[in-house]
Symmetry: C4
Subunit: 255 residues, 4 copies
Amino acid sequence: MPAKKKAPAKAKSSRLITASKDLVADVALANLILFDHDILDGFGHVSARHDKDPERFVMARYVAPGIVVPSDIREFSLDSEPVPERGERHYSERFIHGEIYRARPDVNAVIHSHAPPLIPFGTTGAPLKPMYHMSSHIGMGVPVFEIRNFQNDGQMLIRSAYLGRSLAAVLDDKPMVLMRGHGATIVASSLHLAVYRAIYSAMNARLQMEAMRLGGEVTYLNESEVEYCTGPEGVENTCERAWALWQRESAGKKR
Amino acid sequence: MPAKKKAPAKAKSSRLITASKDLVADVALANLILFDHDILDGFGHVSARHDKDPERFVMARYVAPGIVVPSDIREFSLDSEPVPERGERHYSERFIHGEIYRARPDVNAVIHSHAPPLIPFGTTGAPLKPMYHMSSHIGMGVPVFEIRNFQNDGQMLIRSAYLGRSLAAVLDDKPMVLMRGHGATIVASSLHLAVYRAIYSAMNARLQMEAMRLGGEVTYLNESEVEYCTGPEGVENTCERAWALWQRESAGKKR
Amino acid sequence: MPAKKKAPAKAKSSRLITASKDLVADVALANLILFDHDILDGFGHVSARHDKDPERFVMARYVAPGIVVPSDIREFSLDSEPVPERGERHYSERFIHGEIYRARPDVNAVIHSHAPPLIPFGTTGAPLKPMYHMSSHIGMGVPVFEIRNFQNDGQMLIRSAYLGRSLAAVLDDKPMVLMRGHGATIVASSLHLAVYRAIYSAMNARLQMEAMRLGGEVTYLNESEVEYCTGPEGVENTCERAWALWQRESAGKKR
Amino acid sequence: MPAKKKAPAKAKSSRLITASKDLVADVALANLILFDHDILDGFGHVSARHDKDPERFVMARYVAPGIVVPSDIREFSLDSEPVPERGERHYSERFIHGEIYRARPDVNAVIHSHAPPLIPFGTTGAPLKPMYHMSSHIGMGVPVFEIRNFQNDGQMLIRSAYLGRSLAAVLDDKPMVLMRGHGATIVASSLHLAVYRAIYSAMNARLQMEAMRLGGEVTYLNESEVEYCTGPEGVENTCERAWALWQRESAGKKR
């Protein structure tokens, strides 16, 4: 049972994509980069707002992130329905993406992951705090989404527009939201910045756990440091330097 | 002393295998996947119930999991004896497999490992609990097998049908059993699901140790969440998406 | 958008470099070695004092350490300005390097990193102490730089000569300085020794965190042990043996 | 400065080796295996007693373990002097090996490492105890060598026959000795078993640190379990299965 994806529909497929070729390639690459940095594994998904139509977003069809290629990328409406409908299987949690794009015009990329270092924070309520300049966005606030507040049938996934809206409401105007017993969703004004934030959020979680165990008081970034580092002169503007590296590594890796 | 296996008996060998070629290939691949995910190393074993004869199971002969190939797969009776007997060396703990298949008609795959993150739980009696939806099967219960309750000669391994039956009795109707000072045994209705459970059980153990150290209260999945996530609409049904990734990675890896 | 660097200016470029070819190659390689050992990632930088002009130092232009090649190496004055000025972008924190070379004639190499294991120490004030002979330089003293003592606009980076001088003053005559909420800067009399110290400083931090959690008292190297191990007969003189390994690994790695 | 070793003396070199070709190859391979398992890095060494002359042992000349090849292997007397003397540089701590072979006729292999997980135990005095059957040899006893009891000039290394004898005396009849602020030395009746013990000693240390932090009581192997597992029917007899894997991995790895 080879895992290769079938090629037949390919020619037709690319004609159905109206987003720019560069954006499609970047979203596919973001999947690989996040997989290579242990943010995504066989699960999770990354999307970007369509670059010509703000009422759409692009994301892979039902494929494990570690093996996404550009021809897997599809377009979705803000109702999180594939456009056009091609009878394919899609991530059941695609509502995370559509509802956040609808609620947050400033957001152009969304990453949903089960990144391991974030799970203990979402599960205990220990607040995630900004350890260093690289993850200053954490200082903007990291709410925790408790799904039990919105339904009580034991379902853990965001499989409806209602739950997507609920998640977006808890996310509010923040850069990320932890999801208890599930994972995290991270947003940004650009795909590259969202990838940067996903990688350094996980790093921050690892570092914070270590620091909390050292026994003393931890000096987190203060308000003015967070403001500066996430501002126009701040650290987040250097994410293109890292992207150039990640691109080289992940695009060039034999799989 | 080259580690290459001898080829001569190969033609004969394949005629002695009555299970389907696909199952044999899948069991060999499961060895590599579990090795690549640090669940197995030079030790441990994975088996599947024979797909044409429920009174048999298939498993590798005495070979380290990281280098198993399809021609290493053999058939065994539920007495854990090789069928046919070919004078080869076999895992001394094969009774784990035969006795579980006998006691549990619902089980079609068994994985025995020394996965490092599970050892501290088996050794301290700290209960393993379900951290997130990915490892919801842990919420079905994880008993601990204490071999001292069944014999007292200092032997730690399941080298007899008696100990195999004892282990199966402690496993009961659960998806996994920890073995004090030894490892764990994980079962499932399919080989792919068993591999999924093995990988995310180890991840759960890592995450739970981190969460327990954060100092606050940990909110584990509750009963209805466990029921939903392990049910027909639950997370475990998505394991084929991950298998496609694992297959690509492990089958394609140069060794 | 390929990440390849443009080649046109290359011929001209090499004529602008007055440091020896070997030094330039070594600085480029040090970037890769430190990247491969998780000391640098997409960020951080490593420099060496110019081998023919002690009033200059060599360092990469604005490129992620993991992809630096010899043709990226540039020369800088002790004012941390590129010589000659070629209109290129440079690391905004290059003042770390220039000001340390100015203040410390004994220093011939400077590494600035965000090495993860060092962050919890810089952030909590838990003192880093020498766990074993491999990291005996830590026993010479590891001050912590608190940028809030020198400016208060929320900026975390060493983006001015003033802050560079302030950092150098806190570093004093020590082999390294932790930077709260930021990272660390490590110096040595040679590039190879600086790389050695960077790698084993991070290892010491990891080991010390584990030792502190074991609950008993930790026996660190005492004064005479630190003196011996950092002295002419000491462990640091064996760093060439490790360099030969690191060079083989990192220079030969497909990227 | 290429790291390649010079070839000229090779023909002559091999004529100077009187141990069997297989033993020489195995010692070189053991270096690579231990490097690939993070037991050795640029430092540490592994030796085996000469298979034709018990008054000699074989070990690499002064080369980082990760790049040792068979032509680097030399012979040494029990005085830890090279035989014949060829004017080459050797590990300054070779006395560890000679003095242990002299004191322990049952020992045929010695590994000296700075394996990271063992350092916190040597440094705190927290006793290393046997977590599971894979590391049952730890239950035979693990003394700690405190060099301050034997000299007080601050020197940390075993650079003399006197210190080698002192270490051997503390090791006594045990399978390993921790060295405070330095590392560990592990011995066995065969090279393959010594490699096995080195790998699973480090794993035991990792698992024990995790178990101790879980907060409950840890159930270590008891006396009869240690006796059984290290005995003729015990786990240690299966190390050839793992060796076949390690050989395949490390010998086949592109370096």
